[in-house]
C-alpha cells in the first residue's frame, strides 16, 4: 500500500455545535496528492470540520471514510492535526518536544533534527519552549508534521504568526508532502499559494 492510493471522502456531513447547526450536507472527496483549502467567514465551521476529520468532534450526521488506509486505524489516527492550540510544554526544550512526539506517535527518536531543520528551528533546539516567540512556537508545533510521517495533514490557519520566510518554507513542505502522495486539508483566511488545490467555501451558501 503506497499512500498515493488513498482517498478521503466526506459524505453529506453535518455539524452541530452548542445546539446550532453549523453546516449540513457537506461532501467532498480528496485523493492522494491533492489539497483542499477551506475558506469562509469567521464562524463558518472551518475549524469544526477539521476537528471532525481528526476525530476530535462528533459527527452529527453523514460519514467520513478513508479508503486505502490502514483499516485498523481511524482516519484521525492516520492524520496530523495542527489546530489553534499548540500542544507545547513551556518547560520542555525544543528538541525534547520533537523527540517526545516522535516516540509517542511511533517513530524512532533519532532524526529529530531533520524536522527542526525543515522549520528553521535548529539553532533554538536547546532553548526551553517558554522562551519562544509566537512564530517560533507555531513553527515548533508544525515540526510534528515532518517529525512523524502521516498521510493526512489537517491544518487550521497554519500561517498565523509566521514571518514571510517561514510561510515560504511551510509552502515548500506542503508541496513536498503532496508530491509524495499525501493529502492536506487546510483552513485559512489568506492565500496559501497552493496551486491546483481544491477549494471549499463554507458559509452563507451552506447554511441550511
Amino acid at each position: 500500500m503506497t499512500i498515493s492510493e488513498l482517498s478521503l471522502c466526506a459524505r453529506d456531513l453535518a455539524c452541530e455545535r452548542g445546539g446550532r447547526l453549523v453546516y449540513d450536507g457537506l461532501s467532498f472527496s480528496l485523493k492522494g496528492g491533492e489539497a483542499l483549502v477551506l475558506t469562509g467567514p469567521n464562524g463558518a465551521g472551518k475549524s469544526s470540520l477539521l476537528r471532525q476529520l481528526a476525530g476530535l468532534l462528533d459527527v452529527t450526521r453523514g460519514e467520513i471514510a478513508l479508503e486505502g488506509g490502514d483499516p485498523e486505524r481511524t482516519p484521525g489516527e492516520q492524520a496530523h492535526y495542527a489546530g489553534h492550540l499548540d500542544a507545547l510544554k513551556p518547560s520542555m526544550s525544543v528538541v525534547e518536544t520533537v523527540i517526545f512526539w516522535r516516540r509517542f506517535l511511533g517513530s524512532i527518536p533519532q532524526g529529530a533534527e531533520t524536522a527542526l531543520e525543515a522549520l528553521g528551528l535548529l539553532h533554538l533546539a536547546d532553548l526551553p519552549v517558554a522562551y519562544l516567540s509566537a512564530g517560533q512556537r507555531r513553527r515548533l508545533s508544525l515540526a510534528r508534521l515532518i517529525a512523524v510521517p502521516r498521510p493526512i495533514w489537517l491544518l487550521d490557519e497554519p500561517t498565523v504568526a509566521l514571518d514571510a520566510a517561514s510561510v515560504a518554507r511551510l509552502l515548500g513542505l506542503m508541496k513536498g508532502h503532496l508530491g509524495q502522495g499525501g493529502m492536506i486539508v487546510a483552513a485559512t483566511h489568506l492565500d496559501l499559494g497552493l496551486e491546483g488545490a481544491k477549494t471549499l467555501r463554507l458559509g452563507a451558501e451552506v447554511a441550511a
Binding site: 476530535l56 492524520a79 489553534h84 492550540l85 507545547l88 510544554k89 518547560s91 512526539w101 516516540r103 509517542f104
Partner: protein, 225 residues
C-alpha cells in the same frame, strides 16, 4: 505501543520534576499537614498516638487530591490531550500512563516519607510494617481512582475542587481498610483483623486498576468532543 506508553510516562515524570519538584512537593505538603495536626488537637502524646494512623491516611488522601489536577488539566488546556488521543496508544493506556506517573510522583514519595511522620505523631512501633504495606497497596488505588475524577472534570477550568469532591467517596474504602490494617496492629488486636483489612485493601486496589482506566477513558471521551 510500549514505546509510546513509556514516552508518555517519561514525559510526565520529567514535567512533574521540572514544575517544582514532583514528589518533593507532595511530601513537603504531607509533612506540613501532619505537623499542623498537633497544633490543632494539642500535644497530648497518647491522643496523638491514637489518631496517628488515621491522620496519616487522611493526609495521604489530601495530598493525592491536591495533585489530581496535574493529571489531565494541563494537557487539555494546551491541546496536547487532543493529540494524545490521535496516537497509536488506546485511551485506556494513556490513562494508565498518567496514573502511574501520578503515583510515582506523589504516592510513592509519600509512602517513603510516612515512617518519619509516624515518629512525629508518636505512632507505636508495631504499627509500622502493616501501615507501610497498606500504603504501598493503597496509594496506587488513590491515583487510579483519582484519574476518573480528573477525567470527569477535564474541560472545566479550575476543576480541581470539583474533582476532589467527586473522588472523595471513592477514596473512602481505601481509607477504611488502610487505617484498619495499621490500627489492628497498633491496637493490639490479633493479626487476623489486620490481615483481612490488607486483603480487602488489595481487592479494592485491584478493582481500581481496572475501573480507573476504563472509567477515566470513558470520561475523557465524553469530555473531549
Amino acid at each position: 505501543m510500549m514505546r509510546a506508553f513509556l514516552a508518555l510516562l517519561a514525559r510526565d515524570l520529567r514535567l512533574a520534576v521540572r514544575l517544582g519538584g514532583g514528589g518533593g512537593m507532595a511530601v513537603f505538603f504531607f509533612l506540613i499537614v501532619i505537623s499542623l495536626l498537633p497544633l490543632g488537637i494539642g500535644p497530648d502524646r497518647a491522643l496523638l498516638a491514637k489518631v496517628a494512623p488515621g491522620m496519616l491516611w487522611v493526609a495521604l488522601l489530601l495530598a493525592a487530591l491536591l495533585t489530581l489536577d496535574r493529571l489531565f488539566q494541563a494537557d487539555y488546556e494546551d491541546g496536547s490531550l487532543d493529540l494524545l488521543t490521535m496516537g497509536p496508544l488506546p485511551l485506556e493506556l494513556v490513562v494508565v500512563a498518567k496514573a502511574v506517573g501520578h503515583w510515582l510522583t506523589t504516592g510513592l514519595p509519600l509512602v517513603v516519607a510516612a515512617p518519619l511522620l509516624g515518629v512525629l505523631l508518636n505512632l507505636p512501633g508495631e504499627a509500622y510494617p502493616p501501615m507501610m504495606a497498606a500504603m504501598l497497596i493503597g496509594t496506587p488505588a488513590l491515583s487510579f481512582l483519582g484519574a476518573i475524577g480528573a477525567a470527569l472534570t477535564v474541560g472545566i477550568r479550575r476543576g480541581g475542587l470539583l474533582a476532589s469532591l467527586l473522588v472523595l467517596p471513592f477514596y473512602i474504602p481505601v481509607l477504611i481498610f488502610g487505617v484498619g490494617a495499621a490500627d489492628a496492629a497498633a491496637g493490639g488486636f490479633s493479626g487476623e483483623a489486620g490481615r483481612q483489612s490488607l486483603l480487602l485493601l488489595g481487592a479494592v486496589a485491584l478493582a481500581s486498576l481496572v475501573l480507573g482506566p476504563l472509567g477515566g477513558a470513558a470520561a475523557l471521551r465524553a469530555n473531549l468532543r
